[in-house]
Amino acid sequence: MCLGIPGRVVARLDDGLARIDVSGVRRDVSVAFTPEVEPGDWVLVHVGFALARIDEEEARATLALIDEALAAEELAS
């Protein structure tokens, strides 16, 4: 329903903004809802707002679960 794109925080700016980078594209977005983010963090960007900080540990945990299916499949074949 709502386009959300992962971007990396490049710098914190004044006025509640941060500069983010999406594959080489820069945009200043509001971090009013993610005040804790720092340069290097990844955030989910929607309509010019960082809606959530992306949790790398959780991201890896999900990948590990997906990889379990891959391991099971390789075992079976």
Partner: protein
Amino acid sequence: MRFVDEYRDGRAAHALAAELRSLVEPGRRVKLMEVCGGHTHAIYRHGLDALLPDEVELVHGPGCPVCVIPMGRVDDAISLAERPEVAFASFGDMLRVPGGRRRSLLEAKARGADVRTVYSPLDALAIAEREPEREVVFFGVGFETTAPATALTLLRARERDVRNFSVFSNHVLIGPALRAILDSPEVDIDGFVGPGHVSTVIGTRPYEFVCREYGRPVVVAGFEPNDILQAVAMLLRQLRAGRAEVENEYGRVVRAEGNPDALAALGEVFDVREDFEWRGLGAIPRSGLRLAEAFADWDAERRFPVPGARIEDPKACRCGDVLRGRAKPFECGVFGTACTPERPLGTCMVSSEGACAAYYAYGRHRRVEVPA
């Protein structure tokens, strides 16, 4: 990590597909609704439906905020845009959506209305500050994902005392829509792929009623191909085990409690309307947001006359059935004929995220098989 490509691995996808096949009982059909239009779009965009076992049927839900705006509200938007003093700022998605008499904002623009495409509501506020002689009206659409952005923009407008800015709010809430679908007769949906990005704001708790009151499992999912396949696997596992719980596949951005700052902004700026009309679904109680009294000065509906006419959904169109999972897009008599993405008749065809539009663009001729 880029948090995108990692979840697009083809080998993992085929392994997940094999797992899905092992999780279904032959001949027993399972109907799952992906609530969110983003999931619908991703499924067709990547051709994921080919990886699902025959027993699993995906039903496309109401989670496209553009599609659910009723025609009367689009006409209201056009009437605001046509006021000579108004610069009407909108997300690009809304421009092609037809109102009554099939006229859209894009056509209003062609006839001379000052319609601006913006990427963010903050950009609309910036226009108001840059052009103090114009009355900038922002077309607020979207679920709880987008509404906080509008809310924060209004807080900003008040803080900076920007008086030539207002919002025409059509923000809607996902929970009441889900309940409306579950309450409609003959609903045979076995489980829900829960919306991912709306959940970054509201968290996972608001879906608990689906499990508790209706006995259906919900798995909140991300938007990459393997997120969606994994969520379907999690739903099938719940169904096999006879469980109905809210699970979260999208832990990298969704927390159980959501985003407290965004929720606080929503609460401060908006009130819940008594009821709001949804295209295809009719009026749903307490499903829409209007500006709170404290923001009356920034409320386009209070500052300008809006016609507020109610326009019936076209009779020939079966969008209501499609949205409730009772009909597939191609089972509608006007699909692809009187109703196409160029001249959409019903809600499901108006945005590329609508079930019919996605089906039309990507899945229309799925029987065409490509040899490996």
